[in-house]
Amino acid sequence: MLRVSAIAEGAGVPTSSLCCEGFLGQAKTTSVGLGYPNLALATVPGHVDVQSENELRSNVLGTTVDHVIRNLTGEIAAVQATKDPAPDEIVFQGSFEEVNRLFLENGWSDGLPIVPPTKEKIAAFLAFTDLPPDHAIGKLLPDNRLATVWNVAVNGVMAGCRPEYMPILVALVEAMADPQYGVEHSGNTPGAETLIVLNGPLIKQLHFNYEQGALRDGFQANTAIGRFWRLYLRNVAGFLLHQNDKGTFGNTWRVVLAENEDSLAKMGWPTVAADMGAPPGESAVTISRFTGGNVIVSVFGDSAEKLLPYLGNALVTHTSWELVFTVGLATGTYRPLLVLSPLIAETIARTMTKAEAQEWLFENARMPAQLFEKYLWGWTNLIPGKRTLNDWVRLGKLPRVFAGNDPNRLVPVVTKPEHVMIAVSGDPLRSNCYLFVHNGMLGFPTTSTVKLPQGWRSKLRDAQG
């Protein structure tokens, strides 16, 4: 909404942006990053989702219309830019406690103590990349700040990372800045959180946990890099709670999920990175935003045919409003992720490839069409027009498998079999799995290959003592 207004103002046309009352603060901070801190906002009192037609009309006539007129015809106060510190400028000198107090008070920390980012520590991180410190990786909305190698190192230090994690941190920010990912949506109200999936030789070289407790904090590489992600979103992209981050509830950041590549090799199944097109033999990170998930406990059976129905049921029962990313808001962008323990994956792999397991789930994990449509525009107001799935098929937006007039016909929850992503990790000898429910184009799966510096092996040897 505000990006529209910024473009129009730049083209010489005055604008008024309509905001529900609770979103005025976010709109003001987002406007700064767009280069127009004083974008004119028109208030819609309360939130429209719970207002009757009369209440909505009364609120628009009583408040919004006057704001729109004021915004388009009245003078709006000019704003001046404030000066930011230079990247290598020392902004403070003090004790550990004093530094942490400063960072908390300025919103530069997540609430946990940070490692003070001194030039000496930053230099150690910079030694693990061949890129110069001022190399611009990209621009990150909503603040529209430059992502640089320097500030990757700064936030890596703060998060408690080790210097040798630097190549992964740079790859992560490259993925974050990729327009396909959609970082600008990271403050949306569902509060989805990114999961980082790591593949390649760095899993073992940097001692990532990929077995029991794979999604729990407790291993430095998994934990510190997960924390880095959220700190970077805060400090460089600009996602702060009560400002640009409007997650109604939100989640804490997730630790890095490393795949069990020994198990994958044994089965002959491709890794997540390989599915995403990463070159074989190289390490890569894949990022994607998930609204939530659930553990699928004690999956029971000695064959793929006995195991897959439970997994398919989880896929259907945990997918709800996210179906707006299967069709409607951003058609074909829903990418749920099933994490299989090696025990379950290897049992399925006795008779199926990964692609065959995905095909089975596409064919069998289905829900009644009328329930699907309730999520789109019955229980939610997310898709205007009340189009049925059959309408979407006729418009050419959905494949034929969704067609039909029987409201109880069963339809898939994704548009292609390969859209159900599958990873292998967790306790190798337990029969539990995990399903992540996806936020569609508002955090679309994006992979970045990790580039190692020259002399990686000797540098790593020195760093690891």
Binding site: M1, R3, S5, I7, A8, E9, G10, A11, G12, V13, P14, T15, S17, L18, C19, C20, F23, Q26, A27, G33, Y36, P37, N38, V44, V48, V60, T64, V65, L72, T73, I76, A78, V79, Q80, A81, D84, P85, P87, I90, V91, F92, Q93, G94, F96, V99, P116, P117, I122, D143, N144, R145, A147, T148, N151, V154, N155, M158, N235, N381, L382
Partner: protein, 107 residues
């Protein structure tokens, strides 16, 4: 922000980075809405389809000769049409002779 030097002190840098956009002035506001063309752009969310008609009716009653361009002339500003709609907007502002834009819904 600097203070006393001590062997236990840390000299720290800023964890953010410069904004990559300049602060720009807003467009000149209109002297009146009489006879002006106002376009509505919508992200297809949060009851904009109910709000636009109310706005249109009320603005028309207060100002003479106004005309309106509805959101469906542009497409949705959120979701899979967003990048196309935003890229086309400057051209459409000129070709449709748009005087002002109302954009919604931030909810």
């Amino acid at each position: 922000m600097n203070r006393r030097n001590s062997s236990s002190d840390y000299e720290v840098v800023w964890p953010r980075s410069a904004k990559s956009v300049e602060i720009k002035p807003l467009a000149r506001r209109l002297d009146t809405l009489d006879g002006k063309t106002v376009a509505f752009l919508w992200d297809a969310l949060f009851r904009g389809d109910e709000i636009w008609p109310v706005l249109k009716q009320e603005l028309s009653s207060r100002y003479s000769g106004m005309s309106f361009i509805d959101h469906d002339s542009f497409g949705s500003t959120h979701g899979d049409e967003e990048h196309r709609v935003l890229a086309e907007l400057p051209g459409k502002i000129k070709s449709m002779k748009i005087d002002a834009i109302v954009s919604g819904m931030g909810c």
